[in-house]
């Protein structure tokens, strides 16, 4: 036992020492491993924090972008969805007329016609066209071509109140703007105070009604103050139909136009009006207007013809007792030489008036160059026959630039 004790004690001590040393070494190594693990974890946490920070800033960016998109979309839809909206359109023209036979060539056209349109939902449209033009003496002429409030009653009827273009015939209400008219001048008898009524102040209803797939009927009916007479030296010189906000003869004019579109791009119309016309402080006299018009487009060819007449009755008690009939008609063919930008125009027109000096027959030939659908240069020549020595008898060259905007 003593032997065992003497032998084992150092051994035990040695083993204990080894164990103690090895456990101490193990503890050191574990501590290092833990420390490195903690450092790694710290690093990972730092990276995660950075990532989270990055993500939240990206989310913020997305949020900001969403707000921007929302604001842009709102701004965009404001234009299209606003109840009340406005648009300015119109046309301008500049021209030169060479009339050597009647002694005067000049740059005689400089006009600007802005058209204002205000729309409230699909309920009402307020529209007005001004004509601002330079007169021969250099002054500026301003005229309200039309100014009306149009109420869309339903799909087939619009109420028009105020000053509107005369619904009689086609040319005056649809084809007179310089960028639409194929020739630099108006057809004979379709100018100011001639055979075709220009405008009316009153109330009307107009619209279209479909019949089947391609057929359609159009109508425009009105009641207005009617035209007035232009009198000089006991004779009626013309019928002023620019639209008056008074009714000197105290008798309204009722009239309208009905047209049928039996095929696409083919339209035939009938117009008529009846009522009173006169001079201030005189008994009224009868007034009648009648007209017909036809239009047809086939490929590049555009055909159009129109007849219009205005008849004024006699009135013995008037300063100009004799009435008369002012009538005019024209036929026109225009052809686009596609794909080029050139267009050719041929027109014949005739104007008959109780006054010999106003009568005119005219052949007109022209060529147009189109930079765009509403931007063009028009060159034309008129062969005119009228009373010898009068302006209506003089041939002339015309050049015009027109722009519809």
């Amino acid at each position: 036992m003593q032997y065992l004790t003497n032998k084992t004690l150092p051994l035990a001590a040695a083993i204990s020492g080894i164990i103690a040393l090895s456990s101490s070494a193990y503890a050191d190594s574990e501590s290092q491993s833990l420390q490195s693990e903690v450092q790694m974890l710290r690093k990972e946490v730092a990276e995660l924090r950075a990532l989270i920070k990055e993500q939240s800033s990206a989310q913020e960016e997305v949020k900001n972008l969403r707000n921007e998109v929302k604001a842009t979309s709102h701004a965009q839809s404001e234009w299209t969805n606003a109840d009340s909206t406005f648009h300015l359109s119109g046309y301008a023209a500049a021209g030169y007329t060479d009339r050597k036979q009647s002694g005067g060539s000049a740059f005689n056209v400089a006009s600007f016609n802005p058209i204002f349109n205000f729309l409230y939902r699909d309920i009402v449209l307020a529209e007005a066209e001004l004509e601002v033009a330079t007169a021969a003496d250099g002054s500026t002429e301003t005229k309200l071509e039309y100014g009306s409030i149009d109420i869309f009653l339903n799909d087939y009827a619009t109420l028009v109140a105020g000053k509107f273009l005369s619904p009689l015939g086609h040319f005056r209400q649809n084809a007179h703007p310089a960028w639409i008219n194929k020739f630099p001048s108006l057809p004979p008898g379709f100018g100011e105070d001639q055979a075709a009524p220009a405008a009316e102040v009153g109330l009307g209803v107009r619209g279209g009604y479909p019949f089947g797939q391609d057929m359609k009927m159009k109508y425009a009916l009105y009641a207005g103050n009617g035209p007035e007479l232009e009198v000089d030296a006991g004779e009626i010189h013309g019928i002023k139909s620019d639209g008056f906000a008074r009714d000197v003869d105290r008798r309204k004019v009722l009239g309208g136009r009905v047209s049928l579109v039996p095929l696409p791009k083919f339209e035939i119309g009938l117009s008529g009006a009846s009522g009173g016309v006169g001079l201030a402080n005189e008994p009224d006299r009868s007034y009648r207007a009648i007209g017909t018009d036809i239009g047809y487009q086939w490929k590049n060819l555009d055909l159009r013809a129109e007849y219009i007449s205005q008849k004024v009755g006699d009135q013995e008690a008037s300063a100009a007792p004799l009435g008369g009939t002012w009538k005019a008609w024209y036929g026109q063919a225009a052809y686009r030489f596609l794909p080029s930008k050139w267009e050719g125009v041929l027109r014949y027109g005739k104007y008959e008036s109780p006054r010999d000096s106003q009568r005119q027959k005219q052949w007109a030939v022209g060529v147009n160059y189109l930079w765009g659908p509403s931007v063009m240069a028009k060159l034309g020549y008129e062969f005119n026959r009228g009373l010898a020595g009068q302006e209506a008898d003089a041939n002339r060259w015309l050049l015009q630039l027109a722009y519809g905007f």
Binding site: W79, S89, L119, Y156, N174, Y219, G256, G295, Q297, G404
Partner: protein, 98 residues
């Protein structure tokens, strides 16, 4: 004789207006059905070509913005006696192609 003719025109005109106003009520159901259907743009291009070109050169859709076409088409609805449905169809076509 002429007076009688114009009297007839007056009566015929009044009858026409009344007929159109009354007929439009009966037509309303069909119109509602047509208002926003998938064929609207196709009808629009046809109505645009047939109606606009009967008076002037065709103005391409790209000339104006959506909101501008809305006003211009309303203006032309009055000027060219377009029906409400034709105007909506043309507007749809122009707004989709500008």
């Amino acid at each position: 004789m002429l007076n009688k003719s114009f009297q007839f025109v007056r009566v015929a005109g009044s009858t026409l207006v009344l007929t159109i106003v009354l007929a439009s009520a009966a037509h309303a159901e069909t119109t509602d059905a047509l208002q926003g259907d998938s064929g609207q743009s196709a009808r629009g291009v046809k109505a645009w070509a047939n109606n606009c070109a009967s008076c002037h050169n065709l103005r391409p859709a790209k000339e104006l913005r959506d909101d501008q076409w809305r006003v211009v088409v309303s203006h032309m609805r009055v000027r060219a006696d377009l029906t409400g449905q034709e105007a909506r169809d043309i507007l749809k076509f122009l707004q989709e192609n500008n």
